[in-house]
Amino acid sequence: MRENVSALMDGELDDAGAQRALEAIKRDPQLHRTWSSYHLIGDALRRHPGLAANYAERVLERLQAEPMMMAPGALRRQSRPGRLAMPIAASLAGVGMVAWLALSMNDQSAAPARAGAVASPPPVAAAAPVQPATPAVPASAVLPSSAIKEYLFAHQGYSPSSSIQGMAPYMRTVTEKRQATAQ
């Protein structure tokens, strides 16, 4: 059956096979763990970044919010194994995610610490004064007005630094450093 679980993950089973495999996973806790581990390994290898902590919760929420088909005809169609396989696979994926999160929390002793606010003094490097770079060309004095803010703001939206750092680089657009350079 383990092989079937693996084949199911790779999408190599036909409708009937998928249905049997999913039934087996539902019944057998051992198989269920196998299913979760396969997903965990796959995620690790694909280098998925850490997901939001409430990911599984959201998957389940979405599933619950899915419109339910009340018409008898639709119900009949839904009861076909192939139709059923997807929602089950999705809910299992949700459970798998919970298992994955639980595992990763247990495996890393650092995990509980990071969830709470880790207050630590700024790293030494951060505390060291950052010397201004001397431009290769002589810089003229002070920037005349605060009008430059709009330009900086417009620029920041198109700088790749926003993709790497999120909004932190916007700090440049509002910094009061300007006054400091008015020497």
Partner: protein, 324 residues
């Protein structure tokens, strides 16, 4: 089937995902940092330093059903706030009683996600891994992007080993001296983050503030009135647009060049009488250099997170294309 078995075989070596991540090559790390910046929920306090000036800010990033939302709140000095709601960014400046609104037409993702662009990045930077050290209480992997010329600055990125989130970033000059630095002192990654933290504090007060809503329309600059004679190696035009920075201001041209990591913006606007006396030359705001110049009755503003000389080189090569 075979794939899964192969995964399993490899899986044996994976004690924790985090340990595996430290084995990643530096370019994959860049991809991981970008993915983490977009997908993770986090909140924390960071210090921005430039020269001997430093400011503390709080940042919160939440991704949920309504998309990506983010807030940056400066804790020192005047309480400035920047709020992002997907592609719309609003900046509240209580001291000036101004709200600046900017809509990004399309967010250009970091090229590390595109293999061809990584090659370009590697043409101009030596990308390597540094040591693992602690930042804000978390183990972080240092990734160094060392420029191969003096046209651009060097970048040092410290990313959380476990999640990939960037914890510290430093931009350095050709002598490896820091120009500016962002560093978290405390950060919470994942877990419950109160959505109320995203609310603008000044939304109500700002009702009677001056609103500067920037209107932009993307435009192809290749047949425009302006010619960029000097090409800066590695910097390619990433977008061109027509914009109004201030409501009453005449339309200006905005062209962005990027080498995949740093960007240069060129603003060209017709000179009105009162601006005629405006200063030309080089300036700097935080880690950003600014070069201003007047030519053919137009004011040029060239700025970006690159050395001043690069801006001057690009700016001096801009000329008005005479109508045929």
């Amino acid at each position: 089937m075979k794939r899964t078995l192969a995964l399993l075989a490899l899986g044996g070596c994976l004690v924790t995902a985090a340990q595996a991540e430290t084995q990643l090559d530096p370019v994959s790390w860049l991809g991981r940092i970008v993915a983490a910046a977009q997908k993770l929920n986090y909140t924390g306090t960071f210090i921005y330093q430039s020269g001997n000036h430093s400011e503390t800010s709080r940042i919160t990033h939440i991704v949920d059903g309504s998309g990506e939302r983010e807030k940056l709140e400066v804790l020192d000095g005047s309480p400035r706030e920047i709020i992002r709601n997907n592609e719309e960014v609003k900046c509240y400046l209580p001291q000036d009683k101004v709200v600046i609104i900017e809509r990004r037409s399309q967010r250009k993702t970091f090229p590390a996600l595109l293999p061809s662009a990584v090659t370009t990045l590697a043409e101009h930077y030596n990308i390597k891994k540094g040591e693992v050290s602690r930042v804000a209480g978390l183990d972080s992997q240092l990734i160094i992007l060392e420029p191969k010329d003096k046209i651009r600055y060097g970048h040092m990125l410290w990313a959380d080993v476990t999640s990939g989130l960037l914890l510290k970033a430093r931009m350095v000059d050709d002598k490896n001296e820091p120009i500016e630095q962002f560093a978290f002192t405390q950060v919470q990654i994942g877990g419950h983050i109160d959505k109320a933290a995203l609310k603008p504090k000044f939304a109500a007060q700002a009702a009677d503030w001056r609103v500067q809503n920037a209107y932009t329309t993307e435009a192809n600059m290749d047949d425009g009135e302006w010619r960029f004679r000097t090409e800066i190696p590695g910097f390619k035009k990433s977008i061109g647009m027509k914009r109004r920075v201030q409501n009453e201001a005449p339309e200006m041209t905005h062209v962005v060049f990027s080498d995949g990591l740093a960007a240069i913006s060129v603003f060209i606007e017709p000179l009105s009488g009162k601006q005629a006396a405006q200063q030309s030359g080089l300036f700097s705001v935080g880690g950003i250099n600014v070069y201003k110049r007047v030519t053919d009755d137009h004011a040029l503003t060239v700025l970006g997170e690159v050395p001043a000389a690069t801006l001057k080189r690009l700016g001096d090569g801009i000329e008005y294309r005479k109508k045929q």
